[in-house]
Each structure stands twice: as structure tokens, then as C-alpha cells.
Symmetry: C2
Subunit: 185 residues, 2 copies
């Protein structure tokens, strides 16, 4: 039985999303790929250079007022006008994972404004967060975040990422890879 | 690559822990077994009636002061004097999982005193919480909690469970099975 919340992220030499950047890397890099596919369920195509897995899950830091704002403003993945995508892979260090819930929330939101920053870019930037840390097979990253937006919003998306990357929270990020994509023709 | 945090819980007709109760059940019951084994890693013995899986993970609700108290007081599983064990399987309903982080924390601790109640029974009752919800294969429960204690503390353990079961938090529990065990001879 496969979870309906499980997604596979396949890096290969063809697929619906074409990588258009030389990915930003902090920590160990990954094998280069020209295309990426986000697939529901478990998937291991023969031609894959790598496959990552993650599950969409309950939110770990969002409080009730923030949740109302998010629900009111956010739009789903798969919008026809979204011809751009990004996939950001994050691994946080052991110090982060040993913090208590209130310490992590304090860094993430009180200091780093992670949720508030993301809210400013809604509804243009659609987003799905996938947790990898608690899967049965150990994964190279803790999170896969997948974003979709229209080409005119690509600059705003870059600013969003830079803002988060400059925050206190990112001091706990020990590995990050940032792929930018456009729809394959 | 198997996660070092993954555990398998095997119900079978022999094993290191002998079931000594007619398990308390809320919601759908499980096939009866006489013995249970908690094993590190992935395990699927041929004689298993069922196998559950879960991962130990970061804490989701414990705040810094509580964490200090827990670390100061708690003892590990596997103590030679612990000749009793319990395995409590919990599934919470969709309403719970749709709450925001602060709403869940409010119910779990402000209203239900889950962490404070558990602290009162340390160090006698050793405990390991395993998360099942985000595993690749969908699991029948959200949590497996494993407890170990010495026979003279069995009554205190029963009181701990009854206290939690009477709390507001348990209104969100839609399935629960509570196995009590002693070491097999």
C-alpha cells in the first residue's frame, strides 16, 4: 500500500521540466541532470540518474492565524500558466534537529520570518513541501520543496529565495541544492 | 540504506515479550498474537502475524524547559530490571491532523498535560515514541509507543494510561490498541 502523500522526484535526461540553471549548491553536490519530474507515488524509471522521495504531511510550525492566511491566498500546483518551476533540496544539521519545538519555531518565524516571507509571494508562487526525514529509506535531504510560477514571477521567486537564504534559519542548513526549470517543449 | 531510526514491531507466536492482557481496543481490532518483538531496522520474519514500522524522530511538541526535565529524568529502554513492557498503538483522526501547530500543542499540553503527566512517571517508565505517519508505506497507526518498566511499577503505568485516555487529546484518537507484556521465560 503506497501513501497518497508520497511523491518521487526523478532526475533524468528527459522529462516534463527542463533544468535551466547551474544549480546553487551548499555542501555536497548531486549528479547533474537536464530534466526533473515530480511524480505521485513510488517511481523508479530505468533512465533515472537519481530519485528522491518525500511525503506531504501536516504542518509543523504554522499557527492558526497564519494557516487562515495561507489557505485564503495559496493556489495549487499544476496551474496552466505556471511555465516555470523550482526544486529546492534542504538538509538541516544535527543542532537544528536537537532543538525543542519552541526553539525551532522561534528561529523559523520570530527571527527568520519564514512563513511571513512566503505569504508575501502568494498566490503567484505555488508551493508544496515534502518531508523526507522520516521515510523508511534514509534520504539525502530532509525536505524537497517544489515551486511553480509564471515566467514574469521568476525574479520575485529569486528574491524570495535570497531573503530566506540570508535568514537565521539558514545557519542550520548544511546542504542545499536549488534547481530552476522551465516546461519542456 | 535503512534508517538507524527505523524499528519493526513484530506480532507472532513466539518472541522476547509475551502478551499478558486482552488488549484494550478502540476502533478496529488487530489479529491476536501471543508475543511481540521490537527490532531495530526492517524485519519481516516468516512467522509474523503482523509487522508495524515506525521511526524515532525529533520531538514535535516538547518545549525547551520540558526537554531539560525529560533529559534529566528519563532512562533508556533495555534496562535489565524492566521485566514488563507495553506497546500502545494510536491513530488520530483527520480533525487532529488539520489543526495548526499551536492548536495541537494547546490540546496536547495546555489542556491535556500529556508531557507533564509523562514526566511524573519518570524514571520508572522508560518510553520510546515511533512515528509511522510519514513512512513510505502507509501504516495502520500514526504512532507506536513502547514502554518498559519493572513489575512493581505496572500499576503506576496503568494509572498513567488512564489519565491520558481521559484527557481532551484522546477525543482525537480514533483507533487505539494497548498491549501489556512480560519478558518471555
Amino acid at each position: 500500500m503506497t501513501s497518497a502523500r508520497l511523491f518521487s522526484f526523478v532526475g533524468a535526461d528527459h522529462g516534463p521540466w527542463q533544468v535551466i540553471n547551474s544549480p546553487y549548491v551548499r555542501g555536497e553536490p548531486m549528479a547533474a541532470v537536464t530534466h526533473i519530474n515530480r511524480l505521485a507515488g513510488e517511481s523508479k524509471p530505468n533512465n533515472a540518474t537519481w530519485v528522491l522521495r518525500g511525503v506531504t504531511s501536516n504542518e509543523r510550525y504554522v499557527e492558526s492565524e497564519e494557516k487562515k492566511l495561507l489557505i485564503a491566498k495559496q493556489e495549487p500546483l499544476g496551474r496552466p500558466a505556471s511555465d516555470c518551476a523550482a526544486m529546492i533540496l534542504i538538509r538541516k544539521n544535527e543542532t537544528w534537529w536537537k532543538l525543542s519545538q519552541n526553539e525551532r519555531r522561534h528561529i523559523l518565524e520570530t527571527q527568520s520570518k519564514h512563513i511571513a516571507i512566503g505569504l508575501r509571494y502568494l498566490p503567484q508562487i505555488a508551493r508544496a513541501l515534502h518531508h523526507c526525514r522520516d521515510l523508511e529509506e534514509e534520504q539525502p535531504f530532509d525536505f524537497v520543496t517544489w515551486f511553480e510560477f509564471a515566467a514574469p514571477d521568476a525574479q520575485a521567486f529569486s528574491e524570495l529565495v535570497l531573503e530566506l537564504r540570508a535568514s537565521e534559519e539558514w545557519n542550520f542548513v548544511e546542504r542545499e541544492i536549488d534547481f530552476r526549470m522551465k516546461r519542456s517543449l
